[in-house]
Symmetry: C2
Amino acid sequence: MNQASASRVTGLPFILGLALCVLCAVKLPAARAEGALPSWNDTSAQQSIVRFVDQVTRPGSPDYLPPAERIAVFDNDGTLWSEQPMYVQLAFALDRVKALAPQHLEWKETQPFKAALEGDMKALAESGEHGLLELVMATHAGNTTEEFAGVVKDWLATARHPRFGRPYTELVYQPMLELLAYLRANGFKTFVVSGGGIEFMRPWAERVYGVPPEQVVGSSIRTRYEVRDGKPVLVRLPEIDFIDDKAGKPVGIHQHIGRRPILAFGNSDGDFQMLEWTTAGGGARLGLIVHHDDAEREYAYDRKSPIGRLDEGLDEASQRGWVVVSMKTDWKRIFPAGGSAARQ
Amino acid sequence: MNQASASRVTGLPFILGLALCVLCAVKLPAARAEGALPSWNDTSAQQSIVRFVDQVTRPGSPDYLPPAERIAVFDNDGTLWSEQPMYVQLAFALDRVKALAPQHLEWKETQPFKAALEGDMKALAESGEHGLLELVMATHAGNTTEEFAGVVKDWLATARHPRFGRPYTELVYQPMLELLAYLRANGFKTFVVSGGGIEFMRPWAERVYGVPPEQVVGSSIRTRYEVRDGKPVLVRLPEIDFIDDKAGKPVGIHQHIGRRPILAFGNSDGDFQMLEWTTAGGGARLGLIVHHDDAEREYAYDRKSPIGRLDEGLDEASQRGWVVVSMKTDWKRIFPAGGSAARQ
């Protein structure tokens, strides 16, 4: 626009148009929660979140942080989606054993594969950590990274939860989807930091959570770069690379993010060190724990559960200032309306 | 704004204000290079870059990609900053040996430390890979991640390049700083993918390159989470975790980014697989190589250099469609004006 034409359009309406656009284009500096967390009840849990976001985003606040430092980390299993009656990734591994069984006739007579094929969870548990590892390697390794991502997507498109009958990607927690979006609208970068496999989450985390692959941290197996018939591939090897759980979570966070988060959300003692590491930093910090206390709408479990055990976290939450979020009283609803998260 | 007030301001000036703002707020869809790459000569190298950015960002282009998929990766040593006469990180390690020597009197008589203390590069080279590894572990491990970041920052604040007499963070390539900014202005996410230590780069990459810690990929040693006197720390262990070089680069890229880049820029055969992996993907891809052919303004080296050897890359660039960027003819200037990158 040259000076002459600029002067022709100057005036109040032009200024108003300009102001309106600036308001739309620039993110509102202070935290806005009205309408942003509709599935949260107006309890102290929601208030803690809104207060914290206001503290770190309001210009002039003593705890103000620039967007680059607004890092929020979320556990996945039991924090963003259901982990009962078994980890989704275990359900995937069991189905995968069945799919691959025709190429492995010996599995009919070999544990832990026999147990997996027969759905004998007791025998499977008895195969111990070694048995589970064998199962994971047989079902997660041996193909390329692109092939594996395809297998995960295909499985998720058809697999259904045994109790709710819905795709697993619809059994994500609606209040958490809203929280992720609310934080991002306030300049946060949201990461998933899970004990689950990084490559099991990446194929759908962007679509379902709005979290791109580079913001997913998880356990991993090694890969090897190869050129096959002139085409480079990354081959998944049957060797553990990293276990992103318990004391591994701060290690994984540092390796991937390189900056200490200011907000961490978990649900089990596997998240204890992640919350500890996050909330031990200077300035305003927020640690939160989902407490599964809603058997009717989801599941109720904590101190004695073999999956997602929450014991130390419950004991220490109060003295450490961590917020325990009750599914039953803090959340209006648990899952999104049918079909919304199932689109491929 | 309610309907009544909206109708009062409706009209051409308002619409023009609105349109102007939309133009300002939304990133310009098509690539704009005018003024964005002032340190690049108007040669085919610059034209390749601008054409590629236009291809992937112009709506309607058959190669258009949404911003989430605009991933660009850059090697560091020799691509973003000078790597001669020795890798900056080696200069750091040698200075660190001197700083730590009073606590290790035995180093006076033990290789490779004796060689490091005496500046005997021949003896140092003779200590081989094992010697270098010992040197790295003694100078890079044993402290916490926060302590190490402080040591790196302190060293960079005072260390000077032997030939140019400037801080190493000022010996970054001005044309590359412009390219990083130009790509980001066109919706790209820029990553550093270096054979150098990830924790050696993160303390300054954001300030100097505009690349945040979570977008730095590099070699690493293991860390362990510990609580010391109630304060959690990550302790750096003297064990290699990952070497992000050669065939390790696609592995590191996949581990950290989880998505294949569309643009890769390197300078040595250590970057070969990174360029191969990047440019083997579908759609528009761009591979680029800095050719150090300017002994006057920087250094001239390629096929026979022990540091940053470029041999296979030169042989194959043409048939693979990779752009070889000549420092001498494609770059107007090499380094930023004095002082600009030295601020802490």
